[in-house]
């Protein structure tokens, strides 16, 4: 992306409660990556409890912090899980 853009972000569990919503649009700078998204969410206290423990899924696959985002991506914040 050579321009600033927004992605739709799905929120679950603790993050969803902190944000007060299950889904939000997040603005990112040109060339924005997963790491930018996490920082932005942290600044907005959505993942205030510990950025490093949060994973991000892009199109339902876990993505690294340097993964470049696209406005069409399905992005989800994955706080520590507790299935079973």
């Amino acid at each position: 992306m050579s321009e600033a853009f927004s992605v739709r972000v799905l929120l679950y569990g603790r993050c969803r409660e902190a944000a007060g919503t299950a889904e939000m649009m997040v603005s990112l700078p040109p060339g924005g990556v997963v790491g930018d998204l996490v920082e932005r969410l942290s600044a907005e206290s959505v993942v205030g409890f510990g950025m490093e423990s949060v994973a991000v899924a892009v199109n339902r696959k876990l993505a690294s912090r340097d993964h470049a985002l696209d406005p069409s991506d399905e992005v989800a914040v994955i706080p520590p899980v507790a299935g079973g």
Partner: protein, 156 residues
């Protein structure tokens, strides 16, 4: 989430993997799995306990990212089938509000012999505890509640 997540023919490799809002029991999977060459079926039920970390639990709320959860469950089931000599694997995880003694998870594995069936069942449980995008909020007897977050997911 609505889909059964079922594939494979009756006698061949079969995978059943999904999150569901419906009540679960081991029977749902055990009765579906197994071929004539299978001598062993191992099943696991995870149930809601009335206590956790010293607190009295009255209810649980499970929340999933269902589309990704179904994919992760299918991945885990197929990994188990690739890594162990087992024929069929089924996994169902419940979401929504569960009472004490309700079944949150069912895993079943069919195999010719029992050792790989046990090993594969444990593999599935350990993997889904580490990777499945499911979150759990405990409600306690004193009216408070808390997210239980045992396992940060390892990113790439």
């Amino acid at each position: 989430m609505q889909a059964d997540g079922l594939d494979g023919s009756e006698e061949g490799p079969r995978t059943i993997a999904s999150v569901t809002e419906e009540p679960l029991t081991a029977l749902d999977l055990v009765s579906l799995l197994g071929t004539d060459s299978d001598g062993a079926v191992v099943a696991f039920e995870g149930r809601v306990r009335d206590h956790n970390r010293g607190r009295r639990v009255v209810r649980l709320h499970y929340e999933a990212y269902p589309e990704m959860a179904d994919e992760v469950l299918r991945d885990i089931a197929r990994e188990a089938q690739a890594q162990y000599p087992v024929t069929q694997v089924g996994i169902r995880h419940r979401v929504g509000t569960l009472d004490v003694a309700d079944v949150s998870l069912v895993v079943a594995v069919a195999a010719a012999h029992r050792d790989p069936a046990f090993d594969a069942a444990r593999y599935v449980i350990e993997q889904l505890k580490a990777r499945l995008p499911v979150w759990k909020k405990e409600e306690y007897a004193d009216g408070s509640s808390e997210w239980v977050e045992s396992q940060p997911v390892e990113g790439e």
